[in-house]
Amino acid sequence: MRLYGSVLLAALLALTGVLFGLWWAPFVVGLAVPVVARRARLALPIGAAIGLFSWLVPLAAGEVRYGLGPTTQSLAAVMGFGRTGAVPVVLTLVVGTLLGLAGAWLASAAWAVVVGDARVDALRNE
């Protein structure tokens, strides 16, 4: 429960940052993920989910408030994908996801190096 609570708090923190224009907030929050989930197997999906969540919610809110159909088609056209509106949606969610994932992975990997070195030192001293 404590893990779930922490993850939810982190996700809300990232979302709040994004809503205030700090679009890179998922990366920063992702850096803190290993504090609550040290196993990389857990930390990485959590980081990715936080990134996805914090970019998906405002996008979904935009769809509810304004309807994003014409916008997705226009963005796809500007990007050179004709009128394939799925492209900007997927791209947007991928970027958000990658930001959270990258933060979590980087912190997790750094944590492993620090902890691993400490353990080797400890074993050598035995």
């Binding site: 990366f27 930001l99 691993g116």
Partner: protein, 839 residues
């Protein structure tokens, strides 16, 4: 072992510690290195633009990125607080986006106009000012560098700065420009604070800098350039060199070779006609210089230069109108873009009550009406540009010889920031004639009326305040460039037309060729205002202009050659319709604006059919001739097969007659660029000189117009059979002729191409394949019923997600018009949104 188990597995005392620990350590470092690399990649893509891709984070995040396009597309009632307003202003937005601004002071009117323009068109405005200032490379990279260099050489920025500097402090247009700039900047600040900047700013990764009055003057300069900057003398030099002075003068004469309908038939002021000398031989050095400059200009975007116009306007006096009031119609033809160059609005303040269309970036209604008069424009097309080849000498570096002395070139330096590259520096040299435009071969400078500081915005403000012809005509006295045919109709039944602008006159020489810059051939003045083409209340009650030469051969001044003016077919057709017996109505005006009758076809097709009746024809050729024989309307309609046959024949005919000359003389000018003038020659010879020497082209031997027509018809039918199949009845015009409205930023956001009617000769002009030039605004005014109507192809918003992006296109395409309501009438319509603007 996986990466995470290397981190997570507990160590035990039974395992040999050192090797296992080292392996774990290595894996952890490998993992970290991979994480660092991937993270760096993700962050780089998120924060930094790469090639055509923007920085993905700021561009695509759903709160402040390009997705704000969705919120920006919402049109709601609003209360807006604007810095600089003196009193509250009301902006009504009709269901279709037409804006009605009502202010209690002139200052507030212009400020609000700036705000409204920027609210809907800020990116377009930024592009326009960047184009004029040579700053496109800063946002799109080195692809725009040649354009930027050319613009800085030409000098729109210098002219705009000089115009602003010359504006007296108490001039109303100065106050208007300042207030307008403040309104634009109020919107920029608001958009930045609320993350509502146009998505294109986000995608290109930059923010607009504050708007200044000079920016508005740059936008005006862009239009001047598009409408009056051309390289006709350069082309003429190349034509003269390759064809010889004799043929060049014969094919590209000063006076049009065909019968036209000038609107001002005279009599003219009793001046002695200016002597027109025969075209001189062009030397090798001059021709090489011209060739280099021609290629340089050809490599730049065509939209920077004047093309053959296709605009129309006309007026009918109260005595000839069904309503008893004067009628006015105008449809200026420009490059058709999305967003459109126009923004429709009405403006009301203590001193201004105008309705019509404005150019975003400028504070005035350019085409429209007020309570008493209506006006519209077509391009005047007279020669406003002269090229000079400066005399230089190695003994006098950086100097030119002028009026007996060596003079130093002035120099101006500019830095051009380039996206993704190093800032480029250029130095522009200026002689007394103007900027050095080319220094390959002989140094060439350009004298262009558009470089003379003029207060055109002030002129338009006074036009908007005019209550009658004298006010209107007096206001236009200050209009210099580009020369425009201003048509006029008022609420008293009067009509008029004046081709306002500079008509530069050189002391001597041949201004249709590059001239020596030594002083004898300098511009000595302009035609006096009272002598420029103009008419007021003509006896027959009609006036028309369609870029044709405005005056007859009796006009005593040089104003340009046949290469400068349109071929006259639209003017002839408009004159034909207007001069028919009977009264005319607003509906007739609307029908004439969408008239697809090809006047040239009506002259030539009967001659061709006569020729074909005496010729041996194949089955397909015979069937095609039958289709033409049934074509008595001469209308270039989308479902007409005859239209296709006619168009292909005419192109083939021009090529059949002139192509051998072009090839044998290695003419360095693209034949398509002089197609209209060659067509006028061919028309005149086909109708009245069928044995002209030109038909006997090099390599084809002696022949007449008849043999040339037969060969051209065979070629046309062969080409059409190959591309459209063997049945001429299925060669509908719409299969080969489309129209499109081109989006300024992305081709996928363009409208069309769709099959459409018209060609280069029809009042509803649609040149090229596909055609992206045409009527950029149509307006019909009936002062008898006080009925004002207009439409432009596009919509008020540049945001492609907005319902106002292209909502007028279908109405325009179908040839219909929308009512132009005043603010009071608009308030009573359904779906109106109200912006309450507070100080």
């Amino acid at each position: 072992m996986t990466i995470d188990t290397a981190v997570a597995e507990p160590t035990t005392a039974h395992v040999t510690p050192a090797p296992r620990g080292r392996r774990r350590g290595r894996l952890a470092f490998v993992n970290l290195a991979a994480a660092v690399v991937v993270t760096a990649g993700v962050l780089y893509a998120a924060f930094m633009p790469a090639g055509p891709l923007p920085a993905l984070g700021p561009a695509f995040n759903p709160v402040t990125g390009a997705w704000t396009m969705a919120a920006d597309a919402q049109d709601t009632d609003r209360t807006v607080k604007l810095a600089g307003l003196e009193q509250p202003v009301t902006v009504l937005l009709e269901r279709d986006g037409t804006a009605h601004i009502t202010a209690q002071s002139d200052h507030d009117l212009f400020l609000s106009t700036g705000y409204v323009h920027a609210r809907f068109r800020l990116f377009q405005m930024d592009l326009l000012r960047r184009q004029g200032a040579g700053r496109l490379s800063e946002i799109v990279g080195k692809d725009a560098l040649d354009t930027d260099r050319f613009e800085l050489q030409l000098g729109l920025l210098r002219t705009a700065q000089a115009e602003w500097k010359a504006l007296p402090t108490d001039d109303p247009s100065r106050a208007a420009l300042l207030a307008y700039a403040q309104g634009v900047n109020d919107r920029i600040s608001e958009a930045e604070a609320t993350h509502q900047l146009d998505a294109m700013f986000t995608l290109l990764g930059y923010e607009p800098r504050p708007w200044t009055p000079v920016d508005s003057l740059l936008v005006k300069g862009d239009m001047t350039q598009t409408l009056s900057f051309n390289d006709v003398p350069i082309e003429m030099a190349l034509l003269s060199k390759s064809l010889g002075a004799d043929l060049a003068a014969d094919w590209f004469p000063v006076m049009p070779p065909n019968a036209q309908s000038p609107y001002d038939p005279g009599p003219y002021a009793a001046h002695a006609p200016a002597p027109i000398a025969a075209t001189a031989e062009v030397g090798h050095a001059e021709a090489q210089t011209a060739s280099a400059l021609y290629q340089k200009i050809a490599s730049l975007p065509a939209s920077l230069f004047e093309t053959n116009g296709a605009s129309n306007n006309w007026a009918v006096s109260g005595s000839k109108s069904a309503s008893g009031g004067a009628l006015l119609a105008g449809d200026p033809h420009l490059h058709l873009t999305l967003p459109s160059i126009w923004f429709q609005l009405t403006t009301d303040s203590p001193n201004y009550h105008t309705a019509g269309v404005s150019i975003p970036g400028t504070p005035v209604v350019l085409l429209g009406h007020n309570q008493h008069i209506a006006w519209s424009l077509t391009n005047g097309e007279n020669q406003q540009i002269f090229y000079y080849q400066e005399k230089e000498d190695a003994a006098h570096p950086d100097q030119y010889f002028w009026k007996g002395t060596w003079n130093k070139y002035q120099t101006v330096g500019y830095d051009i920031p380039v996206l993704g590259g190093a800032t480029q520096h250029i130095t522009v040299k200026l002689s007394v004639h103007g900027p050095v435009i080319s220094d390959r071969g002989l140094t060439t400078t350009v004298w262009w009326a558009g470089n003379i500081p003029s207060q055109d915005l002030g002129v338009m403000l006074r036009v908007g305040q005019s209550a009658g012809w004298q006010d209107f005509r007096n206001a236009l006295r200050g209009w210099y460039s580009p020369t425009q045919n201003f048509v006029y109709a008022d609420d008293q039944g009067n009509i008029g037309l004046i081709s306002a602008g500079y008509y530069p006159q050189v002391a001597k020489g041949q201004p249709w060729l590059p001239m020596s810059g030594t002083g004898e051939y300098d511009v000595a003045g302009t035609i006096p205002y009272d002598d420029i083409p103009q008419v007021y209340n003509p006896k027959d009650g009609i006036i028309w202009s369609a870029n044709q030469r405005q005056v007859t051969a009796d006009y005593p001044y040089y104003i340009g050659t046949a290469l400068h003016f349109a071929n006259g077919y639209r003017a002839n057709e408009i004159h034909r319709v207007l001069s028919a017996p009977g009264k005319l109505s607003a509906t007739d005006m609307q029908a004439l604006q969408t008239d697809t009758r090809d006047y040239l076809a009506s002259e030539i097709v009967p001659v061709l059919l006569q020729t074909l009746s005496q010729s041996q024809l194949s089955a397909t050729e015979g069937a095609a001739a039958d289709v033409l024989r049934d074509w008595t309307s001469y209308r270039m309609d989308a479902d007409s097969s005859a239209a296709t046959i006619w168009s292909w024949f005419w192109s083939s005919y021009v090529d059949e007659v002139f192509g051998p000359w072009w090839r044998s003389r290695a003419v360095g000018v693209d034949i398509n660029e002089v197609f209209e003038t060659l067509g006028q020659d061919l028309e005149a010879w086909t109708l009245g000189d069928r044995t002209n020497r030109t038909f006997s082209a090099p390599g084809v031997g002696a022949r007449t117009a008849v043999e040339a027509q037969q060969a051209a018809f065979r070629d046309a039918i062969t080409l059409l059979t190959r591309s459209l199949g063997p049945d001429p009845r299925k060669w509908s015009w719409g299969r080969v002729h489309q129209r499109e409205l081109v989006n300024l930023a992305a081709g996928s956001l363009s409208y069309g191409p769709r099959p459409d009617r018209g060609d280069a000769n029809t009042p509803l002009a649609a040149p090229d394949f596909p055609s992206s030039d045409g009527p950029s605004w149509r307006m019909v005014v009936d002062w008898g019923t006080h009925n004002f109507q207009g439409v432009y192809p596009g919509g008020q918003s540049e945001n492609p997600a907005s319902t106002w992006y292209d909502n007028h296109v279908d109405t325009w395409w179908d040839g219909l018009l929308n009512p132009m309501l005043n603010a009071g009438a608009a308030a009573g319509t359904s779906g109106v949104k109200t912006w309450s603007m507070q100080p």
